[in-house]
Symmetry: C2
Subunit: 179 residues, 2 copies
């Protein structure tokens, strides 16, 4: 098993981070790996919003919690959707087909690159709940999502404040063959 396969198999969502920003070089490597994801017809029709401002991260989390409460999802008031990670990246795309598949490739590239550098990450879908509590234009402005782009997903990063754990056991019998 080569190191790359090992990192892929050992990646696991991290939800407990040190209160310390990753280095600028590490950040730029993570961004670059996201940019090098495949995209349908090589459109690269995505946008990344990189958020290092702790107050802004907290505000976004708080608004997501408000949105969840508004649609009846039971979330404690002190829930932090980014687990107090020091860095968040929001992915958005032009809607030209396959944008969520593309966005999945983007965040997975970022997550594996992070793992290979000893950085933890967690993919976060809950930023979509911001749209439950404020007009779309306001949310897109807060998240710096460009005009005509749609929110896809977010991912947060930081140095893990926990021991490395193995990935969860995988479900069995999910592969069929046509030989």
């Amino acid at each position: 098993m080569n190191k790359t396969v090992e990192f892929i198999l050992k990646r696991r969502s991290v939800r407990n981070f040190l209160d310390k920003m990753i280095s600028e070089e590490e950040l730029q490597t993570i961004i670059k790996c996201g940019l090098y994801a495949p995209s349908a017809k090589n459109r690269q029709n995505w946008h990344f919003t990189v958020i290092k401002d702790k107050e802004k991260i907290d505000e976004i989390s708080q608004q997501a919690v408000e949105g969840m409460k508004k649609i009846g999802l039971d979330k404690a008031n002190d829930c932090h959707i980014f687990y107090h990670a020091p860095l968040v990246i929001v992915i958005s795309s032009k809607l030209e087909g396959y944008s969520e598949i593309n966005a999945g490739c983007v965040v997975e590239n970022m997550a594996i690159a992070a793992k290979s550098m000893g950085i933890g990450s967690c993919i976060i879908g809950q930023t979509r709940y911001l749209y439950q509590q404020a007009p779309k234009a306001d949310v897109n402005s807060l998240l710096k999502i460009p005009n005509n782009y749609e929110h896809d997903v977010s991912i947060c990063f930081g140095y893990p404040n926990e021991e490395e754990k193995d990935a969860h056991p995988r479900k069995e019998k999910v592969v069929d063959y046509i030989r």
Copy 2:
């Protein structure tokens, strides 16, 4: 730059394959890396159909081309949506939220693992066009997609029959910061 980051940055869709199956060990590593993708709430609610039967691969491609023609997409009759790759994996999911993001993570894990082993891959969305030319139940039966699962995307693999090329240049000005 570590080797994993290098593979991520050098991965590029391959559309020209040797007429030779990858080894069973390589195949199982690729499948395992797909299975170790993250999924929303760790549901792992996906299914993989691994297709090594050349006649079946050709049949699926032909039906996709029929579907494309039926909705007016101009595709030559000799188009092969898998570029005659010897191996195809079709990803499907239960619809429980975020399934396309999850599927993107699955195929990207597979693509990077393949790259790290010298195997080329291309993510293929066009299997969705099969549903344009036959009833859903028939297509799902052909693709061995389980009941209550939905087609997400496919990916094909093989040893590259071309020189390694750099990735396409990336679009600029797609990253904004909130510092």
